[in-house]
Amino acid sequence: MEITDTVSVMRRGEMTATVKTKDTSPEELAELMVGRKVLLDVAKGPAQLGKVVLEVENLRVVDEDKVERVKGISFQIRAGEILGIAGVAGNGQSELLEVLGGFGRATGTVRLNGEELDLTGTKSDGQSRREKGIAHVPEDRQHLGMIMDFAAWENVAFGYHNDPAYQKNSLLMDNDAILEDTKGKMERFDVRPPIPTLAAKSFSGGNQQKIILAREIERNPELLLVGQPTRGVDIGAIEFIHKRIVELRDAGKAVLLVSVELDEIMSLSDRIAVMFDGRIMGERDPDKTNERELGLLMAGVTGKDAA
């Protein structure tokens, strides 16, 4: 704001607006950054809060290049609550999900139902996190969440391939059991086409996401980590996916939702934390805030600066 003459706003790889700096304000830029103003209506009742499921204290992540990505954040999620993490992509949300999902290294303390989780990578991985009841719908489904060349049924076992229900005996996997399970999941999650033997890459983005969601949600996890649940997903599937996430919350589970879509955060979350530059800039009640305020926090402008 201080050193530029004109400001351009980029969103989803496109220049969406260019304005003269002297004609604009942080508020207007925030709105431009937030983008589409489609308010998704998610039917959800008031949260029935239970005990604290996830406690994060002073979590720090330093990446391979020695850059500090997460700079000491602390928060809690209760049972029956959706905590939404808002923020522009690349402000530490992905690292947070990786650490909680078991495949990122960090310092600090993370407790699940009071039990401390290993963050050093020596005693934890994606398997041990799943065993503890943490399910994870990753931000990048094609890169992390699925093997695109694997068939749908093979992807349903992805991360759960050690599940005793999927084994024929101590040596061999029971592929028929996985196929059968996949058929059921495809039906319940309305995956189209419902063909378990089709390669994951042959499904649309929305249907890939439904396969992952079915895999993770039907495990009935204590905590569901979900990143960008509707990125690249068609409108019809968005509604379906949101409904399933709310259902899990209503079943008394904790949900950590990371999304760059503000309206998604606002309509799903029971509480919103905004991340900027590896820090939580503030927590807001979705009913008592607006996109402009959140947009400012996302840009690193705290209440005092904006005033």
Partner: protein
Amino acid sequence: MTKLPRWADVVLVPLISLLLAGIISALVILAIGQSPSEALKVMVDGAVGSPYGWGYTLYYATSFIFTGLAVTVAFHASLFNIGGEGQAQLGGLGVALVCLALPWPHWTLALPAAMIGGALFGAAWAAIPAYLQAKRGSHIVITTIMFNYIAAALLIYILVEHLRPPSSMDPASARFGAGTDLPTLHEIPGLSLIFTKQVPANVTLFVALLACWLVWLLLWRTRLGYEIRAFGKSEPAALYAGIKPVRVTMIAMLISGALAGLMSINNVMGESGRLLQNSSEGAGFIGIAVALMGRNHPLGVFLAAILFGFLYQGGAELGLWTSIPIELRTVVQGLVILFTGALDHMVRMMLGLFFRPKARAA
């Protein structure tokens, strides 16, 4: 690119690739002033025209099945094991040490022990590049190539300094005892009716077929195979799923090395009956082509191994009965590798043109 129907992908593409390789080979034979049809006749007669020819073709194929499977297992973990040659030679050392260690009373006892020896030594030779890849990120292609040279040098040293009988000038071990002689196809009741003359193909062929089935089972029916394939497709996704990269890299390479080492029960124990210098004779490298052509599937590896066995034996016959030099078989092999491996996409693209209109109508 148009997606080909499955039958075209599995059957038509390799056949056309082979045909193209055949045509170019024919042109090469023409260019050196020989008759391609005569050459083809000699090759077919010599390699598959008689049970005797088959006895050689199957002997070579047996070796290629093992080395092809070795490349296949590593390939599914996205590891390009070029070190089958060295691993097979070390496997030969393992087999030789086992065979020389005891006065084996019968081959049925000696074979399992020799298999363990060959597999262990082959796996051990693959373990070092695997560890360097898994822990230090040293590229497996570079390290396995280097280990081929180290293996060759190591073997010469061991043969000359330790295994060579004092009276011999030949860099080879002493002959193994009679109790280690594996029955050839000629000596197996029933099969001896077909193979009426002594042939080098031996019971190892059946071990190789069993290995094909076991590798298929491993890759597509076990948790380990699932982890190997998932890791091979995407390392970040494997991490997400809780698959440990170091563990999978190590295990896949150990299995790969063990399979390459197992080859030696065919040539060292089954054929020569002693450990020679360069015992594997390039079979480790041919395994790469076999795996490539066999689409990294055990059934494909089996078929491709038979084809390369045919080329190997047929090429030898060429050198024997015609004035075409034996080196031509290397040319033919090279062309087959070129067309089935490197130019695979070219054939697919050409075929895609034929399949496109149909696909649109459907």
